[in-house]
Symmetry: C2
Subunit: 456 residues, 2 copies
């Protein structure tokens, strides 16, 4: 490792120069006028992979922006790591809020400011440079490597699933490694090993065949809003527990180790409450805030509407009312099965005088890597080596669709080694990336790649 | 009465000719381009009153369209009746749905088609002609009369309260007589002796200081929609009873006579349910539909909104949610007191983690004439005389603001003798008025005016 680390130090300026070139390309995938720039970034990645010593570096077409592939498969019998990242970036408006132009990278306070610096050009570039450094110092890699660097992550990766499905054997691996998440804090490296899934639906409730006048009909007929709120309230008990029959069936319990790990994290409920301007927190009884966020499912009403929304008063008895619902799911809940259960609940609890149409929408499976998988434990060791601080194991309350894609398609662990920080303004003006994490992250990755073959 | 009825028959054609002239004036109070027409209708009424033999016929200015006044006060010691009506009409769009132009009155199937025919030029005109006929036949009226014919009823009578307040002694009377309601059916004359009042409010509920991402925060924080539906559900029990503490305090009980009267009316719950396309009716237990509509108070949610209302899914935990509420009130509920009670309920039941802003809006007092008041009983006799059918006593579930105005200002009974029918398309294309009710109504009014002095 010492030689590699000396190499990283010696080449720091050159690495940053190359990163600056990559960050100068306005590869905004959402804006069609930037389509040539998106391709330019793909070409830059392809060329960087070739220069780094990878084989078969190629731009592969999809239904949208292309995927960059490359591999290094010269250590037979050793595991193959699929490195995922993305070279596309978010739009930059409002442009006037940027202190320096988004595509003219500027280093100040040991941070590099540019659109994509943290999400995800910086971290993706680090993988290339880490592996290049090992190759240059040692002449070979300790594991086999494949790259999958896409250009549509910021627009929902719409073509990735079908692309990977179509090239399944080409991208087959033993492990997926992604650096597109954040660390818990600047001095707290973390490994996310679980994500929640999603199940979405809509409830459209109807009563009479038209809106009715509350003077003429009020008191004798059902009101669609009354029926809807009655129905919606039936989904939770007041303490926040979800009352849909069987909703919690099969929900994986937290291990004692996980409970201890979460409890050891520096989470302050009171500061959290205050930062959100809340009179009180609210959640399922018997769980801590982090447990609620990471390991427990939810059922949230995301939108409700019915009747009169204008200024003043309208004496109407609405004949329809609507609600949008999403659930965050945890292992081992199945989105389709959850929607079945919600539909059954809705059917059972629809108040007399009302009819309900239940419409299914987006779904996504929860993801949970085996907490004690050696590839994940090794990630912690790698951080400890580079940062001098033990990494903590966390989950995320949200979903990362590509993680689910890889997990569902290849049935292999997905290791999330984040180097970004939550305050680095990804998706906002003045996005930046800490060069401290760039430096330590390179060392973390080199350590990880070096030791992976032995750990598995 | 016989001479008067002969006079009515003899002058029928002339009466209809004059009514046609009045209906030809497009006195649409809501449209400023019709302001001259509105005044033209006022002038027509003033002149008709003068020609009929009334004194002091005058156009009196208000903050908006004028009020037409006239009086006949020559029988000292006899009661004074204030006749209220309005000469303004609703807009006519969609114009293409009219079979004949709205301001070119057309008689077909013994109905006169024109905007304002039923609401309220026809019935208002009938009072003038009934009294004119008595004057012409008998040389004097049996009671003193004042007219208050306004031009802003279709735009909310915004100036009437302050106008009457400013001219209180000029309009003072012993009784107000209004023909601006409908009969229960073509063969069922009815006298409405009670109206419900109104109390409106808005609930604005807030949780966090911003919308939150359901992946990052879901499970640990309150959701404004969850809190709102929980709060709203607390306002009713599932059977429809309002659970606001003290809401029913002082609600006047139906007399046995009223219960019998309502039960005798030809109301068919099943036909009513079907006509509204409802799976089931819904209302306060222990009361019939008509009792629920006429004599029981309501609390209706007229509108609800919060979070995402667009197409598809948005994984948001909304930080605010809103509801609009109106109550229909019955004697002896006080609107302000009811809003106090609702506010107290809201304060008490606001879920932890949420704050609520309670905003008061429109209020109106319920109105109930003494059921057995001789002026009201006489109205039934008058219908019986003219129609050969006993009039029934009904209430209305809605409010008529002018009734409350007269009741609150003068503390005198308001007698509502309607001659319109519910299917006569007032406020819609092809408004019309039954000439059968025009003829019988004139006789009803003549009988009423003739016998009122002796009845009181």
């Amino acid at each position: 490792m010492e030689a590699i680390e000396r190499h990283l130090t010696a080449n720091r300026e050159e690495h940053l120069k190359q990163l600056t070139q990559l960050l100068s390309i306005p590869s905004i995938s959402a804006l069609s006028e930037h389509k040539p720039d998106v391709r330019k970034a793909a070409e830059f990645i392809r060329d960087a992979l070739t220069k780094a010593g990878f084989d078969h570096a190629a731009i592969m077409e999809t239904g949208g922006h292309p995927v960059v592939y490359a591999d290094w498969l010269h250590v037979e019998g050793k595991p193959t790591v699929l490195v995922y990242g993305h070279y596309d970036v978010q739009p930059v408006d409002p442009l006037q809020l940027w202190k320096t132009p988004p595509f003219e990278p500027d280093i100040r306070d040991n941070q590099i400011f540019a659109r994509g610096a943290s999400d995800d050009k910086g971290p993706t570039f680090m993988h290339i440079k880490a592996l290049e450094s090992i190759l240059q110092v040692e002449g070979e890699l300790p594991v086999n490597i494949k790259f999958c660097i896409e250009g549509e992550e910021e627009v929902g990766s719409a073509n990735l699933d079908s692309f990977l499905e179509a090239h399944k054997s080409q991208f087959a691996a033993d492990l997926v490694l992604i650096s597109d998440t954040t660390m818990l804090g600047p001095d707290q490296p973390s490994i996310c090993y679980g994500l929640r899934g999603l199940a979405a639906c809509q409830i459209d409730l109807q009563t009479a065949n038209t809106d009715l006048h509350s003077g003429i009909y009020g008191g004798a007929v059902p009101n669609a809003i009354h029926a809807l709120v009655e129905l919606l309230v039936s989904l939770h008990s007041p303490d926040g527990t979800i009352t849909v029959d069987g909703f919690y069936d099969g929900v994986a319990k937290l291990s004692e180790a996980e409970q201890k790990e979460y409890a050891s994290l520096d989470h302050d409920d009171e500061a959290y409450r205050k930062s959100l301007g809340l009179p009180a927190l609210h959640g399922e009884p018997g769980y801590t805030t982090l447990e609620r966020l990471w390991a427990r499912p939810t059922l949230e009403i995301n939108g409700i509407y019915g009747g009169f929304q204008g200024e003043g008063t309208k004496t109407v008895i609405p004949n329809e009312a609507h609600a949008k619902i999403t659930c965050r799911l945890v292992p081992n809940q199945d989105p389709k099965n959850i929607l079945d259960k919600i539909e059954a609940h809705i059917t059972k609890h629809t108040p007399e005088g009302a009819t309900v149409t239940f419409t299914r929408a987006d779904t996504g499976h929860p993801y949970l890597a085996p907490y004690d998988h050696p590839a994940i434990q090794l990630a912690a060791d790698a951080y400890t080596h580079a940062y001098g601080i033990k990494a903590v194991f966390t989950r995320m309350g949200g979903s990362i669709p590509v993680v689910e894609t890889f997990s569902q398609l290849f049935h292999i662990p997905v290791v999330l080694m984040g180097f970004g920080l939550n305050d680095e303004n990804f998706h906002a003006p003045n996005e930046h990336f800490s060069l401290d994490n760039f430096d330590k992250g390179l060392r973390t990755l080199c350590y990880y790649y070096k030791h992976l073959a032995n750990a598995l």
